[in-house]
Symmetry: D4
Subunit: 149 residues, 8 copies
């Protein structure tokens, strides 16, 4: 079994790199959104022309980013969604709902501070983890049956 795994969520920390590194020996194809924050925000206007109205500036970029996100989620077997402490992250919760509706296996990654606010998202997940290392352990177990020592 090969796994396609999409890593959705905040693009401010290196949580993806931790997972990809920890899983480097596993038969997994990882995908993720563009993680360069400025590129992600401005891609629409950078390619298709400036928009004086911030709403349309953001809309242009968000729809362009959706090409990558939707493809990533649709190709995925497993979708991991990370929520950190600070940001609104409504796009992450949106991705989680999108993945759940498509029947993808959802893994949610967040600290205890958001337990109550994320109860609905967690309820849709097949696993709720607190640390990237646990996500690696999940992927390793799913592919090989091996558990952490």
């Amino acid at each position: 079994m090969t796994l396609n795994v999409y890593l959705s969520g905040e693009i401010h920390t290196d949580w993806r790199e931790q997972i990809i590194e920890g899983a480097r020996d596993l038969d997994i194809r990882f995908s993720a959104p563009v993680t360069d924050h400025d590129a992600s925000d401005d891609c629409g206007v950078a390619i298709l022309g400036a928009e004086p109205d911030k709403f349309w500036h953001d809309n242009k970029g968000a729809r362009l980013n959706a090409i990558r996100t939707r493809t990533g989620i649709e190709q995925a077997d497993v979708v991991v969604v990370r929520f950190d402490e600070k940001y609104k992250q409504w796009n992450a919760a949106f991705d989680a709902g999108y993945a759940a509706a498509l029947g993808k296996a959802l893994v949610v990654l967040h600290g205890p501070e958001h337990q109550h606010a994320l109860k609905e998202v967690d309820a849709a997940a097949l696993a709720v983890a607190q640390h990237p290392a646990q996500v690696v352990a999940i992927l390793r177990y799913v592919l090989t049956g091996a558990l952490p020592a």
Copy 2:
């Protein structure tokens, strides 16, 4: 044409009542989550037994609430998702993504303060409104072709 409309989002204000009242002459079947906050939080343990661990207390309730939410979204032609200024509302963003993946017509309702944080959710919407009265106008236009004076 009859419309089935699901009203997702915060359950702390009367925004749903405003829409339902304004649309009372239209051929619409409205549905929504349970809006009694305590009932919504405690329904799982109230019916199926107490859980000492808050995570499972919340999980039990969230999965029970999902029976109503998923049915409402799946039966809907239009899903309206409201974000107000205060709350985390990840369940609302989750519902928006769920609805988008199922190809439902998504209408998002929020004030200008969240414009940037909601750019991805807005980008998936067929309409972005600021006030319940605009949602009523949208539903009236969709059903009758009439626009506000």
Copy 3:
């Protein structure tokens, strides 16, 4: 058998009225886009606020109109798409493709002047008619088995 029939296409002539009138004794629920041309063009800005850029003015309205169009097509058993001599009507061809992909029974209505340009759209149709009266005859035959005298 009841039929849900969506009437897509140009909103400049009374072709829909001719069909609905001719089929008034049949068990059919007709739906159609908003046929008031100015309302259709301006609905987005009329409800959700002006847009100085024509592109966004039109985009706002088109996405709002899509709520009605997609619902109509998705609920339909039969989608009739009319092309007249003059207009570009790319939205009509778009609706035809949308309906075809969803496996709807497609009926196309146009005069001989566009036969070659509409060959791909016609090829996807289960019937190609030239006059509204033929569409009525088709619907009557499908529902009752009766043919024109």
Copy 4:
């Protein structure tokens, strides 16, 4: 991530070659309709026998071409649809609707002269570009996160 990209639309200019050339270093599988105009028009009768009636001559060819078009769109992650200034291009708009209904990421490519007539098609697109170079930039950004200098 690999992308399957279907290039639909007018077959009178070299717009496809520009995109394929500009994207030659990217992990993309391009497909397109048959671009030899006479072959496309006459394939049906050339293989399956002549038809004296132009309607059936065209129908035979259009249905045969549909084998390639539908396969291309169904296998695609991204569907690019080009409209140039001159032609009716209803088959292009049809392809756009077909792709949209299947949830494909739609990119539309056209000049400003058709902005109003293409408003519904543009509204369904995740990006609206004016030049093939922009389409290349979109594909490059989606696959690598890199933006034009």
Copy 5:
């Protein structure tokens, strides 16, 4: 539970009337193809214009009839397909395959003379009957749990 039942197959005997009559007290909506043989063959040319080539004459009618057949099968919970001794009935076998692919409950009705030739169609069926009275008994049992005395 209400059942929608589509009765496909030969239109030369009164087998449908036998079933509908026998099931008249049950909560069933029956549908069927047009059973007037000449109308069924000529509907295309009668409504849409004559075709000198028999192939196109038949094709026009068959595509028009498909509007009714596909709607009937898609709306059905149960599809009954009858094969009698004489006719080629490839359209009936086609309908059986169409229904099977859509996951409809298939009931096949034929005499013992075709047992071997219909083995694949029978293998896809949830019941294989020899007489219309058995089909009535099946529908009665499915709806009420009652078995023949």
Copy 6:
């Protein structure tokens, strides 16, 4: 909101009657398999002819019963599956898996003796109850938001 609820599982006790009675004031359409045990076992041979081989006797009846079961599950919004202490009930677990794959809201009803053996089935459920009265409370809550006193 109306709910369609399919009640799957053992047909040896009156657990369905308890639920239907308790929910009689709610807007619910209940369906269930045939609960007359002998009729269920022998329906195939009773209608379609005796089978000396027990395997085919049972197969005939099981496929006939599947017409009702599949229709009930496919029409349902909620599928309740009951497991009692004694029986093998593989058909109940099969129904639960069938419903889960179709995205139905699954409610499982069983006593504590099977907790470990039913862990996979319970894990797919949105609620796990021990008594029919809890199922009634769940349905009442889902439809009205009211919780038990």
Copy 7:
């Protein structure tokens, strides 16, 4: 573009070999049912045990063969169905309907003797050919755009 092509229909002549040979330079993966007639008829009892009743003997084999047929059709982009002059070939018509319902590109291959009896099957096809060489030409054109000299 690679094509997966399933070759359904009579297993008494070498029509498949003609097509596969003629298309040997094309990027096509062909699949087909088991063409050894006795193996096809007896596979069920040969592997799973004898059945004294011819109906169950045939049923066992037909269901076993369905594993291969359904997989072949579901994996296919194009399904070719051949009808020759003699046989009942209801399984071929069944496959054609199955493929049509799944939206596969259907190509039908038969001589003129069955034109009228196959009108419904032909009407669902994207191409109707008389000779295997035409099917090869169709596949060559679809993949390369080249037409016969």
Copy 8:
């Protein structure tokens, strides 16, 4: 044709190894659940933290295992489900129903002792076998057309 085969069912005997060994020369990708019984039971708590309540201990593990099971079934062309004499095996029956709803080709493997209790599961299967060697023979026949000597 390549086959993806998921081997579901009891993890107490070596029945999977027998099949995989016997099929080693065939073009098949086998997948299966984790077969280390303790790892399967405890994977949830081992990775994500202990749960004092056995229900949640089991639930955590079952949902984690579902990542692998659902992926395996969804990727499969054929799902083989084994029932042995002893265990409750409701998860196996659940997998069978899940696979049936997704239209997978189902093969069931069990001894004669459960014939009656498994009648519904068997009725959904395309083949019912008693020994792993028969499953190998089925896979060999499906891929190559060869039958056992």
